[in-house]
Symmetry: C2
Subunit: 350 residues, 2 copies
């Protein structure tokens, strides 16, 4: 167990650690006392039919959802909905390599799959809040993977789904991309097979990972148009050292590796012996598939190909020069599009 100040209330504000008990894992082994870091907004109504689940992405937590996506001025309004954000296993807030003890600590942390998270979330929502059905499940990137997993695994528990900038079945290109992120960590002698004393010992590897994100996480146009100037940086180098590097270097390498493995192996066809049309055909939720047009590793065509296999779905493309990291909601044109689409989706009777 490592004491990492980033994964605290000081940096992440209010959240509750809720135990769902023992979680048996798809890859074998179990987490004896699985803790999920949960934030909620709004009130669950008596019918318990106004619940929205937010899932989190690689390196992200509920924080970005709180700061950017949720509020009375947004489609995700606490005035109408009971919104629950559950930080994924390995996020650093929920049970993760760096905060686990004994047999689970650090390099011994087991492999966790998207399906494990969704099973854990379903149990949490049912046992903690009595929620049997969700008005909406959504998430970006790895959150989209969890959203698809929900819609395929528990079709009658999901009325609406909004996977943003992500896929139901991870692509081989995405797998290889994620592997270069992992190699940036593994290649740092300070990583030491996962048995470092502090994430600071892996700063060089985390910095290299940040640089690869700089290439793939934004678009070519983001850099060409110098969009970082709007964020008050004076050069692309200053943006790297002032934004991307500190974003990643505070994080825990083993936590990132746990999420990366999960991301790489995300695949709803585990429910249908590898048959993607069969898996996506199980979805009964009204689904808005929402890729970002400049995304370099979840390109629109990959998302559109999946959308075409989902019975009651629409393709809603987000226009954002930031590319995948448009998810941060930096562009002033981003949230109006998200709110429009989520508003339309929530207004759909299902």
């Amino acid at each position: 167990m490592i004491d990492n100040p980033f994964y605290t209330h000081e940096f992440h504000g209010e959240y509750d650690l809720i135990s769902i008990g023992r979680l048996d894992l798809e890859e074998g082994g179990s987490i004896p006392d699985c803790q999920l870091a949960v934030t909620t907004w709004g009130e669950l109504n008596e019918a318990k039919d106004n619940a929205i689940l937010i899932t989190t992405w690689y390196s992200g937590t509920h924080q970005i959802w709180r700061d950017v996506y949720v509020g009375p001025e947004h489609a995700l309004t606490p005035e109408k909905y009971f919104i629950v954000a559950v930080n994924q296993i390995g996020s650093g807030l929920s049970t993760s390599p760096h905060n686990a003890e004994g047999d689970l600590a650090m390099s011994t942390f087991p492999k966790v799959r998207i399906g494990d998270d969704v099973v854990a979330q379903e149990r949490l929502l049912r046992e903690q809040f009595g929620i049997e059905q969700l008005a909406l499940v959504l998430g970006g990137s790895m959150g989209a993977q969890q959203t698809y997993e929900w819609a395929v695994r528990f079709p009658d528990r999901v009325r609406r789904a909004a996977p943003i900038a992500g896929t139901a079945q991870n692509t081989p290109h995405d797998f290889l991309y994620t592997e270069t992120l992992n190699e940036a960590i593994w290649s740092d002698p300070g990583w030491n097979g996962g048995e470092y004393k502090s994430n600071a010992e892996v700063e060089a590897g985390l910095t290299r990972q940040a640089h690869i994100w700089g290439v793939m996480g934004f678009s070519t146009e983001f850099w060409k148009q110098e969009v970082w100037r709007a964020l008050e940086f004076e050069s692309k180098e200053a943006f790297l050292t002032g934004f991307l590097e500190p974003y990643f270097t505070v994080m825990d390498p083993n936590d990132l590796l746990t999420m990366a493995w999960k991301w790489q192996h995300g695949d709803v066809t585990r429910h249908t012996d590898g048959d993607l049309p069969a898996a996506l055909g199980r979805i009964t939720a009204k689904t808005f598939v929402m890729p970002i047009n400049e995304d370099m590793f979840f390109p629109v065509r990959d998302c559109a190909a999946e959308q075409a296999l989902i019975p009651n779905s629409e393709l809603r493309v987000i226009d954002d020069v930031l590319g995948h990291l448009g998810l941060f909601g930096v562009a002033p044109t981003y949230m109006p599009q998200i709110d429009q689409h989520l508003g339309d989706l929530l207004a759909t009777e299902v």
Copy 2:
């Protein structure tokens, strides 16, 4: 000086090492006895107006041009043209860190710019062959950079130009991409600040570089469609270990770093105080700008934006699911397009 068997006639067939004497460099310093590795096909006619110059790309040599692009069945036919391929400085065949001695060896090798190569090539062509004007200059990727530099620096010496999958002014995204390739080398303890005994000591870093090429060098569709099956590999992992990794691990790290710096800093606006329209407006050559539609780091729009600034030019987009590394000419549909465009260009009276 390192004895690297890859940079030999055994692997690269016939070429001549031709000295152009002392080359003073734009960044300062000089190469006292600059040797260029040169291959030619065909005969220079009496008017000396049938000469074509081929320039080389990062990690590439004349070899790929000989094996794929040049021949009586191609637009680049030795039956009609005198074709000269000049391997760039730092290529490993021409003067390069690993084959230099004394003050130039290894980590002490000076910074070389695209303009240095073009000045060296112009001198070589004039002094060695008496060529004052070229019927065509072409190249892919870094070869496109050299092609643009020729057309801007020596407008009256270039009648036609065909920059393939590259830009006249390197983009910031491209700069950052190349930096991740460099960091894969720099982060290998075996690199040792450039003072290794053999490229084998940097195998881990070169392997990581190969993996990053796997993400950016091909397209998302290349991986999704499993195009590597046509190359007789059984899995994407086998393609990585059987093709991409051995391609890079035989190469010299300092040579790659020399080319990478040159690539990163390629910019024809050095001739016009940073004014791109002015620089490209100097081009008098009939120019076909030939991006590859699936290229992830020289996207069509970047190439098209430059083409729009070139007076006598056309945009000829190559359709190839391989993306940037379509340049290898693996797809059976690639060379017919290249031959069509180059044939049209060579048939244009100028």
